[in-house]
């Protein structure tokens, strides 16, 4: 019986975890700073397509796997930049008042806020909109 270790699943797992983490952080950062979200969305789409092409042409199976996952993550991140803007409009992500695009969102959407209401630990009960800002800890 052949009990050789197959590291391909581990490569995929590590790549998936790291690229999701990176995308998670980068999308929020980029959306908060960008005056226009279209250029970063376009860059993410272009990088995603280039990465998928590289996955297609390489012969190394581990690299093929890692690039395939990274590329799809980049393509999804482009859409997430757009979704992040909607979260800011809903007040589910903090608006950056120094960004003119966000300043406009703050003026036009009553639900938008500069507060990050998620920046705290859970307390184990429902919280009213009035109480929520007071619980932010860090």
């Amino acid at each position: 019986m052949n009990m050789a270790i197959n590291t391909l699943g581990l490569v995929a797992a590590v790549t998936a975890f790291l690229t999701i983490w990176l995308g998670h952080v980068a999308v929020r950062k980029v959306e908060a700073e960008a005056r226009d979200i279209r250029p970063p969305m376009f860059i993410a789409i272009a990088l995603g397509l280039i990465t998928e092409y590289c996955s297609l042409i390489t012969d190394n199976l581990s690299l093929k796997t890692a690039l395939g996952i990274l590329g799809i993550t980049l393509l999804w991140d482009a859409f997430e930049i757009y979704r992040q803007q909607n979260r800011v409009k809903h007040g589910h992500a903090p608006a950056n008042p120094n960004n003119p695009r966000h300043a406009k969102i703050l003026a036009e959407h009553p639900s938008a806020t500069t507060l990050d209401l998620l920046k705290r630990d859970p307390i184990g009960r429902s919280v009213s909109p009035e109480e929520a800002p007071k619980l932010i800890t860090h």
Partner: protein, 110 residues
């Protein structure tokens, strides 16, 4: 020119999508202390993938493991979202074994 990587990317995307209900339902029914269980299961699944000889199967199992590990880091924030009313809040959660001990640990958040 074989599309193995691209197909794996798409399959990974679909599997990670399954992580959303895992985090939302898991937090709702068990609370964010579930993170210890979800993370442990995730690492065990990733280790299991090492012993699968078929490449497709190894990758799919590995990515399912990664989804569990990532989900464990989302549970704390999901608990806050539920408290804020962005998701349904369930006050009567099923108490997990060792929940009181896990409560004292710092839940991961990335």
């Amino acid at each position: 020119m074989n599309p193995f990587g691209i197909l794996i990317g798409l399959v990974t995307f679909a599997i990670i999508g399954l992580g959303f209900p895992l985090v939302i339902r898991g937090e709702r029914y068990f609370g964010y202390w579930l993170w210890v269980y979800i993370m442990s299961i995730g690492f065990l699944i990733i280790i299991a993938s090492l012993f699968i000889q078929n490449d497709w199967a190894s990758v799919i199992v590995g990515v399912i493991g990664a989804t569990f590990v990532w989900g464990s880091t989302e549970l704390k924030e999901q608990a806050v979202r539920a408290e804020l009313g962005w998701f349904p809040f369930n006050a009567n959660k099923v108490k997990l074994p060792f929940a009181d001990i896990i409560k004292k640990w710092k839940a991961p958040h990335l």
